[in-house]
């Protein structure tokens, strides 16, 4: 169990994080520069928070009130860096042995070498390895130091996209076997969805919503969560009556239950729009632009002159512009997100 509650001021930036991680893969989901890496560095002891408390399995790693600040060496925290940070002048075997304590037996690394499919590369230098191999060496080195918590900082972003699937699959297998607290930092919502059980959204240094990943993606409670989980269409909105809201930028009124709550914005995912002629919660197409992706069509439209653009994404197998431009779209009540 890892409990984090920290505050830190870095120039204009204010970090204010709070979350708890059990024996699970926990994601910190945030945009670049939102303070994710800084949070991990505070947990590892590389950076010192101004105030707060970090507790790992009952061990206090940091407590500003009790003036406890355990050095990184004694924290037993495994940190996987974005660039893997392998020691360039050490071989694969030496890298793995480096965290195994005083004078480790050269054979001690063998278990990790075979577990991470590094046979034959024991005596290679890091600069001779591919991106995927480097990632495996970094994982092996981290686990060989027998940490109590794993911190994974964008572990796949340095990889070519065609390698990512395979490395992600291997990483998932390792994490499933390991079953101790793991904090996964990413700005990729898909990685978070596939790898993690729970997630916290972090926006400008502040942790907002913490929820099960599936719940977070289906029913984001905050606008940050909606944006981070990939809600493409967000507009300001206000309540008209107990079952209607208005979204002026889109020039429409939506029928959605909203009794007894305040509404500041409305969100609709691009995949949830359905082609329709007319009806309830109907978005007429006034002007449109089409952008072709590798496997999807991105159709953006306005419902009126100078209105906000709304995006509809559809698989190429389901629709093509040859079928004709839709007159309008509908969205089901259950797919309308209110903030």
């Amino acid at each position: 169990m890892l409990e984090v509650r920290i505050k830190k001021n870095v120039g204009q930036f204010y970090l204010d994080c709070e979350f708890a991680v059990g024996n699970e893969v926990f994601a910190l989901l945030g945009a670049s520069g939102s303070g994710k890496s800084m949070t991990l560095k505070c947990i590892a002891g590389i950076e010192t928070p101004d105030s707060g408390r970090i507790v790992l399995d009952g061990r206090i790693l940091f407590d500003s009130e009790k003036k406890i600040n355990v050095v990184p060496q004694k924290r037993r925290v495994g940190y996987l860096f974005e660039d893997y940070a392998l020691f360039p002048h050490m071989t694969v075997r030496q890298n793995i042995l480096s965290g195994m304590g005083k004078r480790p037996d050269g054979k001690a690394a063998d278990e990790y070498i075979s577990r991470f499919f590094l046979q034959g590369l024991e005596d290679a230098w890091p600069h001779q390895l591919s991106g995927g191999q480097k990632q495996r060496v970094a994982m092996a080195r981290m686990l060989a130091a027998s940490p109590d918590v794993l911190l994974l900082d964008e572990p796949f972003s340095a990889l070519d996209s065609h390698l990512r699937w395979e490395i992600e699959r291997q990483t998932r297998a390792v994490l499933e076997e390991w079953r101790k607290p793991t904090v996964f930092v990413s700005h990729s919502r898909d990685e978070v969805f596939r790898l993690c059980e729970r997630a916290a959204c972090i926006c400008q240094g502040k942790t907002e919503e913490t929820a099960a990943v599936r719940e977070l993606f289906l029913h984001p409670a905050t606008m940050t969560a909606a944006v981070l989980t990939g809600c493409e269409n967000i507009a300001e909105a206000y309540v008209l009556d107990s079952s209607h809201i208005a979204a002026p930028a889109w020039g429409i009124t939506l029928h959605v239950p909203c009794a007894g709550r305040t509404v500041a914005a409305v969100g609709i995912r691009a995949h949830y729009l359905k082609i329709a002629g007319n009806g309830e919660n109907y978005f007429p197409v006034h002007t449109y632009r089409i952008l072709e992706d590798a496997f999807e069509w991105n159709f953006s439209f306005q419902t009126k002159e100078d209105g906000g653009w709304i995006q509809w994404s559809v698989s190429k197998t389901d629709w093509s512009p040859a079928e004709g431009i839709p007159e309008g779209f509908r969205v089901s009540q259950s797919d309308i997100l209110l903030f």
């Binding site: 002891g45 590389i46 060496q73 037993r76 940070a85 020691f87 965290g99 600069h127 130091a145």
Partner: protein, 238 residues
């Protein structure tokens, strides 16, 4: 003027090699002192608060930009027996820098130190911070991080800095002539010997020593280039 083998042998026989040994001894001792002080200063300054760092860095680099004669003048002020520090050093500890070999070493060290310090600092700064962080999270003690990770990564830069420092210390003239003077057999270095020989119109001797210095300088530059090549070996991208 033609020089035959006989004349050259005669010239060689009458040459006094003392300046070479004095210069080499001075260069080696000054480099050794600068090596440790420079690395120490480079390590310490990285951890100093930002404002203090700017001031300290300027002070440590000063001897490199200051005219050596000016540096020599200040050294003379400091270590003269008639001044406070020099007097205390001489009367309490019997240490005298003016007109002694110690003065040669002191002048060469002060002038060459910034080269060691600057090169070591640059070598430390180019190390990927994450490597050091990773080492900490892996539980490697700080002293071991320095000797097993930081130092090997910075080695090419530190080696070329050492060679530059040695070359500079070996050739030091301005500050040495002010502080240590040119006493034959004691403080008369190669550089000073060239100047004196030339003033006396002895082109043969001045030329000989100039060639010796030239060869040393060339060897140093070749050495630096070899270390430069080494530094590419461990780069992540080839």
């Amino acid at each position: 003027m033609e020089i035959g083998v006989q004349e050259f042998i005669a010239f060689w026989r009458q040459l006094d090699f003392a300046p070479l040994w004095i210069s080499l001894k001075t260069g080696i001792v000054a480099t050794a002192v600068s090596f440790f002080l420079g690395i120490f200063a480079a390590c310490k300054i990285a951890r100093a608060p930002a404002k203090l760092r700017v001031v300290l860095d300027a002070l440590l680099t000063l001897p490199m930009v200051l005219p050596p004669t000016a540096a020599g003048f200040f050294l003379l002020l400091l270590f003269s027996r008639r001044r406070l520090i020099g007097a205390v050093l001489y009367e309490r500890f019997g240490i005298l820098a003016v007109q002694t070999w110690l003065g040669c070493v002191l002048a060469a060290t002060v002038i060459s130190f910034p080269l060691m310090y600057k090169n070591a600092k640059a070598a430390f700064e180019q190390i990927d911070k994450n490597i050091v962080y990773a080492a900490r999270t892996l539980g490697i003690p700080e002293w071991k991080i320095f000797f097993k990770i930081i130092f090997p990564s910075a080695k090419p830069g530190i080696l070329s800095g050492t060679v530059l420092t040695f070359a500079r210390a070996l050739g030091e003239y301005g500050a040495t002539s002010m502080l240590a003077g040119n006493i034959a057999g004691r403080t008369g270095t190669v550089s000073q010997n060239i100047a004196v020989a030339l003033q006396g119109g002895d082109y043969a001797e001045a030329g000989f020593w100039a060639c010796v210095v030239l060869i040393f300088a060339l060897l140093c530059i070749i050495g630096i280039n070899i270390f430069g090549e080494m530094s590419h070996r461990f780069r992540n991208k080839q």
